[in-house]
Symmetry: C2
Subunit: 256 residues, 2 copies
DNA sequence: TAGTGGTCTAGACCACTCC
DNA sequence: GAGTGGTCTAGACCACTAC
């Protein structure tokens, strides 16, 4: 053991790069400022472009950079706190809302959603009991400060909106509003929620101004009424720009 | 316009690969089953290994695959639902808990945490008012089904645990338990919470059995007592294996 | 020691934005 | 058309695991 310990745990280059660039962002750059392009940066640090990109990808994942094809890489503003709390036990669309209903179609829900809609809170789900048919699928978008932050698919079985009158002349948006309005007539008993990491589907990505596969936070909400699951919402939030809040923290982000 | 529309939006190869492999996982593989190695798969699909890896990375991000160096790529089990709800307004460590306190040190908190600790709920934070000195930093680990799912750093100012008696002979773990015990003497008025995407720091990664930079869900909790922020918790959950629940959904995951 | 995934290179071409 | 980030290739070597 006469040798000096050189690099007992040699740090990957991209990890070191990430640290160096991250520190430079804090001290030498302003929010919105544009960085040198990738080829320039790679040359400056003496690494291959792919290696540099690995570092930039991490920084983008952490919400510190924003990259746009054809434009460049800019320093991202701090993440926006988006309230996702069970606000006053409301149905979606009730009260003043940051959501905007854009469309509504009728479709057979994905199996995972169908299973959630099948679950009855008051008795065991019997195998094969009442297969879930087509449901209303309301499409909504959420914006904050002029920026689209989330796209939602709200699944509402026809049974949950018995009073809904559908005319052939109705546009998708009018139908969406009608479904939301009727939904609010039901007594809302509770909701439960789950958050997980996902990657944006092509349609969500387009509306969130991201590339397909971009990381998103998927918030699944089950709305309970009269012992049943009256509706299921699957909302995808931009993971790079959003911090989901369940209360009133709202002020600062904790980087990791 | 006499040409047939060929590929108006040519799909990237890795995106197509991800779809193909994802479907194969559903139909041809069991949970825990080991996939062919990356060189083999790349050859089979006629792409470079880097391209194949891009597809595998996405599937891992979505919690559908698990990759371990030196071992191989296996089909991941469905994500575990982990309850993160504001359970009965409890202090950390109260009641039966899935958390295990492992250590406690005294340190100067990161600036972001310091700012959260500075914020007083009952009056405006005056600039320069009472700078935050060293705080107790309790380290805890959370396990489910024998699997480590989260690592937490709990920051507790000494002012929040005035009754704590520290002896030089105390181990880190004993000190951690002491801090938690004293914390529970304070009246807990509320807590608020935020969830965002991050990447695992080296120490967290090690305890979560992941590589540094692995995607994690960072849950920041502020504990309020007597109009002050009595403690701040920063917990990092494995994003690949966890689904955070805020209620009692718990049964199924919605893939995206 | 053999086999795995992780890192890295030095190129190439493509899709997009802006001028 | 010039410049950007996004995709892709065909290699190489390294770190880790298991036998």
């Amino acid at each position: 053991m006469g040798t000096t310990q050189l690099e007992s745990v040699p740090e990957p280059k991209y990890w070191h790069l990430k640290t160096v660039i991250g520190e430079a962002l804090d001290s030498e750059f302003e929010v919105g400022e544009i960085l040198p392009n990738e080829r320039e940066l790679a040359a400056r640090f003496g690494v291959a472009r792919a290696t540099l990109r690995q570092a930039l990808e991490q920084l983008e994942l952490e919400g510190r950079l924003q990259r746009r094809r054809g434009v460049g890489t800019t320093v991202a503003p701090p993440r926006v706190g988006v309230d996702v709390s069970t606000a006053q036990h409301q149905w979606p669309g009730a009260g003043e809302d940051t959501w905007q209903a854009v469309d509504c179609t009728s479709l057979v829900p994905p199996v995972a959603v169908a299973r959630l809609l099948d679950l009855h809170a008051d008795h065991d789900a019997e195998a094969g009991a009442e297969p879930v048919g087509p449901v209303y699928a309301v499409r909504r978008l959420r914006a904050t400060h002029g920026q689209a932050v989330a796209a939602e698919q709200l699944y509402v079985p026809a049974a949950s909106v018995p009073g809904l009158i559908v005319t052939p002349a109705m546009t998708g948006q009018a139908l969406a509003r009608g479904v939301l309005r009727e939904l609010q007539r039901l007594p809302l008993e509770g909701q439960d929620r789950a958050v997980e990491l996902g990657s944006a589907r092509a349609d969500d990505a387009k509306e969130l101004d991201r590339l397909p596969g971009a990381p998103v936070l998927v918030v699944t909400t089950r709305y309970l009424s009269e012992g049943r699951t009256a509706a299921v919402s699957v909302a995808t939030y931009r993971a790079d720009t959003c911090r989901l809040t369940f209360g009133d923290v709202g002020d600062l982000q904790i980087a990791s």
